[in-house]
């Protein structure tokens, strides 16, 4: 009886350990994916910003034919 209970307990411990390991792996992958997303978004933003775009209410816009350009064209 005692042996049977010990076997059950051991199996439960093994299951819990496997679950903990799986959770740790999931967290690790999630952390890597989060870092990829943050950096990729920053590089994308930087590329668009250096190309003359900016965000306005979540939309990317490019400043075209502003007042300064009009003045320059008139001259």
């Amino acid at each position: 009886m005692v042996e049977a209970m010990a076997a059950v307990d051991e199996a439960r411990q093994r299951r819990l350990a496997a679950k903990r390991e799986a959770q740790a792996e999931t967290m690790h992958i999630r952390a890597v994916l989060d870092e990829i997303q943050t950096l990729a978004q920053a590089v994308m933003r930087a590329t668009l910003l250096t190309a003359g775009y900016h965000t306005h209410q979540g939309q990317w816009r490019k400043k075209r034919h502003g007042k300064k350009d009009k003045k320059k064209n008139k001259q």
Binding site: I29, T38, L39, A40, M44, T47, L48, H54
Partner: protein
């Protein structure tokens, strides 16, 4: 170990500085010196690009490590085909980076969907599938945005009050038009 920790801290600091610079420049009239600094960081900081490439590679390995070798090989072939389909070979650096991100998110979504199917509808995994789907859609959105804004083969024309977007190989079209004349 100490060296590795120092390098990691340096990379993290650089990434933080880069993120702060991006935030600072994101205004209608950014200071030219900030834009120049950002351009320099983009063009000269190879560590940033390498870090992203390494992270994508790591994510592939971590996602597939518990699968049998045949499935891993088949998945790598699928990823390669996906990369070709998205035009990786002829894409600019920024597009390549975003294509790699799309691949990683696609892989993550499919691995999580597989686990969800194996768990027979566990609600925790359902949430994970949702999160992975959102991540994948976001990655696709970023690639589309960059192609829409910076794509060399798209031209926007304003005729009257209507906006017309012309897509395709404009250079080839121009050459053909000249040869027809």
């Amino acid at each position: 170990m100490a060296k590795r920790t120092r390098r990691k801290t340096n990379n993290e600091e650089k990434a933080k500085e880069f993120l702060a610079l991006v935030k600072k420049t994101n205004t209608e009239n950014p200071a030219p010196k900030d834009v120049a600094a950002l351009r320099q960081a983009l063009e000269k900081d190879e560590g940033l690009w390498r870090r992203l490439s390494d992270l994508n590679h790591l994510a592939h390995i971590l996602s597939l490590k518990n699968f049998p070798a045949e499935i891993r090989e088949a998945t790598y072939l699928r990823l390669k085909a996906m990369r070709e389909g998205l035009g990786y070979e002829t894409a600019a650096d920024i597009e390549r980076l975003l294509i790699e991100q799309v691949e990683t998110c696609w892989l993550n979504l499919h691995v999580i969907q597989f686990a969800y199917a194996a768990m027979l509808g566990d609600s925790t995994w359902e949430k994970r599938v949702d999160a992975a789907q959102r991540r994948y859609m976001k990655a696709l959105g970023m690639l589309t945005e960059v192609r829409r804004r910076l794509g060399p083969n798209t031209l926007q024309l304003n005729i009257g009050a209507q906006q017309v977007n012309v897509a395709g190989n404009l250079e080839a079209g121009k050459k053909r038009a000249l040869s027809d004349e």
